[in-house]
Amino acid sequence: MSEKTGQRLLLQGNEAMVEGALAAGCRFFAGYPITPASEIAELMSLRLPAVGGTFIQMEDEIAGMGAVIGASLAGVKSLTATSGPGFSLMQENLGFACAAEVPCVVVNVMRTGPSTGLSTSPAQGDVMQARWGTHGDHPVIVLAVSTVNDCFTVIVQAFNLAEKYRVPVIVLSDEIVAHTREAVVLPDPAAITVIDRMRPAVPPEWYIPYEDNSRGVPAMAEMGSGYRHHVTGLIHDVRGFPTERPEEVDAFIRRLFHKITNGFTEIQLTNPVMMEDAKIAVIAYGAVSRSALRAVRQARSQGIRAGLLQLITLYPFPRKAVEAVLAQCRRVLVPEMNMGQVIREVKRVNRTTEIVRHNRVDGQLITPAEIYAHLLAM
């Protein structure tokens, strides 16, 4: 696997992403360069051939996403990485991956938008897009990283969840995490849990490619394995063939959602810090959660019972964990490097607690001092 695991290394977030992907078994990368995600492609182009994998730079992000889906259909774990403009272009094919249940991982290293925006500054403007960017009803898993270490561990989780639930998983990074170097010890390959898609256990004649089961996740046969079947972005019946029968359509779309709902407890990852006795809390994700952590520590040092709930999973929105925080705290601060996206979700699941926004949209990381000042005022 990744020859670098087990060592202590100084890595950038984008580099750790690559090591994590390789450790998770990723053997295919297709993409199109874009700041600040390009290093992921560059490193993949360097590293993949030696491990028998394949790198290809496609003509655009649409093509990158298409190739990633194709490779996954052929049985190979696949990755692409991009930033806002490219992520927008991937949306149509991302929807295909949702509909045809093709596991794959998409890293979006967020920069400031909209449009070309500020290509070299960080932001958290693509959170809602990650959930809702493609048309039609579809669930999707969205994870966020905040440290170089996260980049490794979270992308491993991303591949595992993608494989287990047959769903594209989106990992949101940002320019800061991507380009920060930290000393990390990559885990021993043996210590890393790697999950592969469930493959059919029945002989080909018995294989029903989209048959529901207790988990709601059908076994997936790869092309060329003898389990010939049809894959389509049209709504399909359990055999994979297009259908328009309302009951089949309904069952299809609901299963897409249920398989994720079934997995809530294992998908919804959060990291509560000093929350035990907290009376005020910060809910944060990505690089901002680092500022928040410092601010909370500072508040604690002043005797303020502050706590932090760091969201690693943004979607499916970790409602339970957030509700618990809301129930416990009289006020909750949601600092974001956008005009307020996750705060909408927090408000949605809120019944009583006062939720306070803290936004920054100038391409600069929210500082601990800002958050601390805000906490003091709460």
């Binding site: 295919f28 003509e59 990633v68 194709g70 996954s72 049985g75 696949s78 049809h230 297009p242």
Partner: protein, 276 residues
């Protein structure tokens, strides 16, 4: 040389549930499908090792009917999915069927890039000179001056020469056929599939429902006759003047060159990378 279709129907088609197919009576798509399975039979390819991918359009419905590994991708993107499949599993024989709109309108970029990269894929482009599925809007191959649902005043755009574009973009094997010349089409398809590298077979096909109807060719028979009359073999065309060729098109093999293809080359990179 020509395999008949009768028994192949049972061997290669998902004949038990999917037929009669959705295409209109006389639609050229069915003729191309027949040619395709004959070409495959001739090459003796295993169904398990075959992938048929398509985009969206009437032609995009083809994969449903064949008992291979089949894929119905997004509109215009079939070549990108196919690229991923081929690179991930080079042992698979990957064939892509596309409409003229699918391949050269929304998918035009992927088309020229797949040709440029010379990935070992076979692209069959069913050129019916119209958007069949969505109701007869003009496509990048609709002839100048003809009519379509979005060219109600007569088309002022100039058509792409699909095969010639593929040649310039770098495809290894490029041919053009018609559904009237079905036996020849078998040959072109078989040669294209057998070729290592990117192959393109443009097939002039009839959509009398959406194209013919608006252009004084109301049925399949009229359109097939039209192809019979307009098609000129590459050899003969070389001896014809430009005036003689006006309104006509060439059929046959337009390019057949040998150059290293992407998966071969990538394998070499892997070996070098492993040694480092």
């Amino acid at each position: 040389m020509t395999e008949k279709t009768g028994s192949l129907r049972h061997d290669y088609l998902r004949h038990d549930k999917k037929f009669p197919h959705v295409w209109c009576p006389g639609c050229g798509n069915g003729i191309v499908l027949g040619s395709l399975i004959r070409a495959i039979a001739r090459l003796g390819l295993e169904k398990d090792e075959l992938v048929l991918a398509a985009g969206i359009g009437c032609s995009g419905r083809m994969p449903v009917y064949v008992d291979f590994n089949t894929l119905h991708a997004t509109h215009g993107r079939a070549l990108t999915f196919a690229t991923g499949i081929k690179l991930a599993k080079p042992a698979l024989t990957v064939i892509i069927v596309m409409g003229d709109g699918d391949a050269t309108a929304i998918g035009g970029n992927h088309f020229i890039h797949a040709a440029r990269r010379n990935i070992d894929l076979t692209a069959i482009i069913i050129n019916n000179q119209i958007y069949g599925m969505t109701g007869g809007q003009h496509s990048p191959t609709t002839p100048y001056g003809s009519f379509a649902s979005t060219a109600v005043w007569g088309n002022i755009e100039h058509p792409f020469p699909i095969a010639e574009l593929a040649v310039t973009a770098g495809a290894s094997y490029v041919a053009r056929g018609t559904v009237y010349h079905a036996a020849m089409l078998d040959d072109l398809l078989a040669a294209g599939i057998a070729k290592k590298g990117f192959s393109v077979i443009e097939v002039m096909s009839n959509c009398h429902t959406q194209y013919g109807r608006r252009n004084q060719m109301n049925d399949a028979v009229t359109m097939l006759r039209h192809f019979k009359e307009q098609a000129v073999s590459v050899d003969r065309a070389a001896r014809m003047t430009e005036e003689e060729m006006a309104g006509r098109f060439t059929i046959g093999v337009l390019a057949d060159v040998d150059k290293p293809n992407y998966t071969e080359e990538y394998q070499k990179i892997r070996e070098r990378a492993r040694q480092r």
